[in-house]
């Protein structure tokens, strides 16, 4: 029977377009639980009969383990298990890019804080005391602490294969150019910590099938699963991970930390085991931002045109590789910054040392170089007597400019506009001229360090650029499962991915995409787990792009199946279709013909069927870079941002008060403006931290400040108002034209603040974080 006679429904109502779709500042679906305290973070979990885990870590940065005696720990009442490397059933080593890190140390200790043994007990205090009761005999070795020395060929070898974890050379353009003016500089970046507020934590529950169910914080469930399966000696399908609430990440959760340990203890005891790091253990348990030494030489014309850039970058990767190889490549690729140059000679190294392992942190190699190249740009401007903004404008990249890898930028690169807009934004008044100003607005704040005497104002500008998405030919994809069904007469869409929501708001965006694509108001976003294909990492500013792309693609597939079904059910010969020679459309949750006339509600059409599609999404392929020349097409998208910092510096005490940060960033398309502002403001704050506050103090391989008392992240008193302008130049290659947002605001924030401090003090300031003594000792 043909359905072509099905009467067209009279439009007895005007359908409402979906709200909370793309482009709106949609509220977080997990927001209510987060403000009431009911949101279950990975440290909040509980299971009947669960045990608590604790870790014994090395007090030495470099040592040989002569013996481990666990007997004293086992004797303690309440202790269920004490495990060492002998108890690891599968591979004893793991790693993201190079398999070099022991699950539990054996033979050699390579950094202060390396895990040696783990304990499960009935109370966290018992577990902690038992871990401390384990007796380890060490032969203490001299640590290799200087990355330059580590790669000199004269240092003891930390891993077989040598201390150069990776060397990335880039030779771009003619290599023999000379220039009117040569400006050299050496710069240093300290070790920054991601310091997410949520500690590493999770709950492992042994399963009846011999596998394990894990509820924990991470940035990439599937890469954890792959590593865990190898370590635990289980097939991957028996390692099931569910993302618990994640208290921030910023790169700190890319590597395994507690995952294998808590799993081993659960499998050994047959009981659920919970682990929650203290803040101190968190500082030892995750990788940090690479400290680096960066030696630069710029050749420029008298008019301020860059001729060549030569840079030697040495990053300290610490004891294990983590994501050092990729960070090393990023530092090389973004060594010049968002500037056109005829010739570049870059050598980027990352070294093994006995310092804490370093890996991913927001900005990923581009932060270190931005401090160096922007410091150089200021220095060049000074040498030439040019305005630093004019110098940058003269060299600013634009669409079709070439990166030093030879890769053309094939979407918007509004670098000049970013600068012009930064320059045009109004400046805050001098604090001392503000009526009734409060002492907390001055450097030193309520500590009453100054009443304004000795306070100098400075203004500084900086630009930054970084890739979005994984690079160098990596098969970078995400998976989304989307279904549509009718529940209580109303269409409901379910979205399921394995993508890690770490606070950035992807959970909101997935719902927005589904509402916009399918015109259905009610969207349920599932908890992320390994029951669906990999989403890739919540890293590299990539999830909106790649998981967003997967959700978009899966939604379109569901829509196509529904419309195909509509053709089958309602018939191809529907008069309206014949007339308009078109297919049905799914608009605002209704089936319409080409004229926009209602044909059927979704509920009437779909009835008790479930339409479900799983789709993968890949961004455009990238290529490896040539190992000799560094040439290639390693990136798929570039993000550009700039900052203007206004600071007051008390030259008598060296205290700095950042008065205002202004920033301009191209986001391609603002899919959730409020969430984007949040990323920009938060990223700016982390850049401020690196500029003047945050550094892990490592002395002779030992970490001196693993606490929030001694490692200072910005408070609300440190963080000034942020004035931001969001540009929207759609990237024609990306879903909805979006450009990854998360990292760019961290990159230019730091050099802009240091530039402003230089402007206030006249000092060279070649190291971050800038400390008071850097200002007072040279004034």
């Amino acid at each position: 029977m043909s359905n072509s006679t099905l009467p067209t429904k009279q439009r007895d109502h005007i359908s409402t377009p979906v709200s909370a779709g793309l482009g709106e500042s949609v509220a977080r679906p997990d927001g209510t639980l987060k403000v009431t305290g009911d949101f279950a973070f990975s440290s909040d979990l509980w299971a009947e009969g669960m045990l608590w885990a604790s870790t014994l870590r090395s007090p030495h940065p470099h040592a040989r383990i002569k013996s481990i005696n666990i007997a004293p720990a086992l004797k303690i009442n309440g202790v269920s298990a004490v495990l060492t490397h002998d108890d690891v059933p599968g591979a004893k080593l793991y790693g993201l890019e190079i398999i070099d890190q022991p699950v539990l140390a054996f033979d050699t200790i390579r950094f202060h804080g390396e895990a040696i043994a783990i304990v499960a007990a009935d109370h966290p205090e018992t577990a902690k005391r038992a871990a401390q009761a384990i007796i380890v005999e060490y032969e203490i070795l001299e640590p290799v602490i200087d990355p330059d020395f580590a790669i000199s060929g004269k240092a003891p070898v930390i891993h077989t294969g040598g201390n150069i974890t990776r060397h990335v050379p880039i030779l771009f353009g003619p290599q023999d150019l000379t220039a009117d003016v040569v400006v050299k500089g050496e710069y240093e970046v300290g070790m920054q910590d991601q310091a997410p507020l949520g500690p590493e934590s999770g709950l492992a529950i042994p399963a009846e099938d011999g596998g394990i169910d894990l509820y924990l914080s991470t940035q990439w469930l599937h890469v954890d699963r792959g590593q865990l399966a190898t370590v635990l000696g289980l097939p991957p399908e028996k390692v099931r991970l569910t993302l618990a609430g994640v208290g921030g990440a910023f790169g700190a959760r890319e590597d395994l930390s507690m995952q294998a340990h808590v799993s081993l203890l659960a499998m050994r005891t047959g009981k659920p085991v919970k682990i929650v790091y203290s803040r101190e253990e968190s500082f030892f348990g995750h990788v940090h931002r690479h400290p680096g030494k960066l030696r630069y030489e710029h050749g420029v014309t008298k008019e301020g045109k860059l001729v060549y850039v030569k840079a030697t970058i040495v990053l300290d990767g610490g004891a294990y590789a983590s994501s050092s190889p990729a960070v090393c490549a990023n530092a090389a690729c973004f060594a010049v910054g968002p500037y056109e140059v005829e010739s570049a000679t870059i050598n980027s190294y990352v070294a093994y040392t006995n310092n804490p392992p370093c890996g991913a942190m927001r900005g990923f190699g581009a932060v270190q170089t931005a401090f160096a190249y922007e410091s150089q740009m200021d220095k060049i401007a000074e040498v030439l007597g040019m305005d630093p903004i004019d110098l940058r404008l003269k060299n600013a990249m634009s669409r079709n400019s070439l990166m030093p890898t030879g890769q053309p930028i094939d979407s918007a690169a509004p670098v000049a506009e970013i600068l012009e807009k930064l320059r045009a934004m109004p400046l805050p008044p001098l604090t001392s001229t503000t009526e009734g100003f409060d002492i907390i607005e001055l450097p030193g704040g309520a500590s009453n360090a100054t009443h304004g005497e000795g306070v100098r104002r400075g203004i500084g500008y900086a630009l930054g650029v970084k890739n979005v998405g994984f690079s160098e030919g990596f098969d970078d994809y995400s998976t989304a499962k989307v279904s549509l069904q009718i529940i209580n007469g109303e269409p409901v869409v379910e979205v399921h991915t394995a993508a890690a929501e770490v606070g950035q708001g992807l959970v909101t965006l997935k719902g927005q995409i589904a509402r916009t694509e399918l015109g259905v108001q009610r969207v349920v976003v599932h908890v992320s787990d390994t029951q669906v294909g990999s989403a890739g990492s919540t890293s590299a500013s990539r999830q909106s792009y790649v998981t967003g792309g997967a959700v978009m693609t899966a939604c379109k597939a569901v829509r196509d199946e529904i419309l195909l079904f509509a053709m089958e059910k309602l018939g191809h010969l529907h008069p309206h279709l014949l007339h308009f020679r078109a297919t049905y459309l799914l608009v605002d949750g209704e089936i319409r013909d080409g004229n926009g006339t209602l044909v059927s509600s979704l509920a009437d059409l779909v009835q008790d069927r479930i339409f479900e599609c799983t789709r993968e999404y890949r961004h455009r392929p990238t290529t490896p870079i040539d190992p000799i020349t560094g040439q290639g097409l390693p990136h798929t998208q570039f993000a550009f941002a700039g900052h203007r910092a206004v600071v007051d510096v008390d030259i008598e005490t060296g205290l700095v008060k950042v008065i205002e940060m202004a920033t301009v960033q191209d986001v391609g398309k603002a899919l959730n403006p409020q969430a984007i502002e949040g990323q920009i403001e938060g990223g700016t704050a982390q850049g401020l931290g690196l500029a003047i506050l945050e550094e892990i103090q490592v002395v002779n391989g030992k970490v001196k400040n693993p606490s929030f008392t001694d490692y200072l992240i910005p408070t609300v008193l440190d963080m000034p108002p942020v004035r931001s302008i969001i540009l929207e130049y759609a990237d024609e290659h990306a879903p909805y034209g979006l450009r990854g947002v998360g990292e760019a605001p961290t990159i230019s924030s730091t050099p802009a603040i240091v530039s402003a401090i230089r402007a206030a003090t006249g000092l060279a300031l070649t190291r971050v974080p800038v400390r008071p003594e850097h200002i007072t000792s040279t004034m």
Binding site: A27, S43, P196, L197, V246, G503, G678, P714
Partner: protein
């Protein structure tokens, strides 16, 4: 050790507490109230902020035995049966929540501030919240949330 205290208006009697446990541990692990968070456990981050007899404290710095007989209010006690507390609603509306780990502590500290000062200046807000660390937001939207909550409370006369 036995502890008797009132939490969010309800009398609680908890047995078998190890005397070294903090109020934070007892709330989170023995009372099923994980809203107060454990980000530093040394009084630096404010994410475990609660009220003890009306005084804002970091629960991590209080030994369980110190709250014998005390009235404790946690973030879980702020919302009504059907409505969020205006401060909670303002944090949502202002976009002040990202990962949310600092949020309960900030909300408790904001309620404390607005109870004492219904119309705080930005500097007063900054001073009051200086003991609460947030790593995600850069604080801009937290300031927005406090201003919004103050304005709404002023309007409804609840402040």
């Amino acid at each position: 050790m036995r502890l008797t205290c009132t939490v969010n208006g309800k009398t609680e009697v908890i047995d078998d507490i190890w005397p070294g446990e903090s109020l934070l541990y007892v709330l989170r692990e023995r009372m099923g109230l994980p809203g107060a968070k454990n980000a530093c456990e040394q009084g630096e981050c404010g994410s475990c902020s609660v009220h003890i007899d009306g005084v804002l404290v970091c629960a991590c710095l209080v030994a369980a035995g110190q709250v014998e007989g005390a009235q404790i209010q946690t973030v879980e006690g702020l919302a009504g049966a059907t409505e969020l507390h205006p401060v909670q609603q303002a944090y949502l509306d202002a976009g002040a929540v990202q990962c949310g780990f600092c949020t309960p502590g900030l909300i408790v500290a904001t309620v404390d501030l607005l109870d004492k000062n219904s119309d705080p200046t930005d500097n007063e807000i900054r001073e009051a919240l200086a003991g609460n660390l947030c790593r995600c937001t850069g604080y801009a939207k937290i300031l927005d949330a406090v201003r919004l909550a103050a304005a709404r409370l002023e309007k409804t006369g609840k402040a």
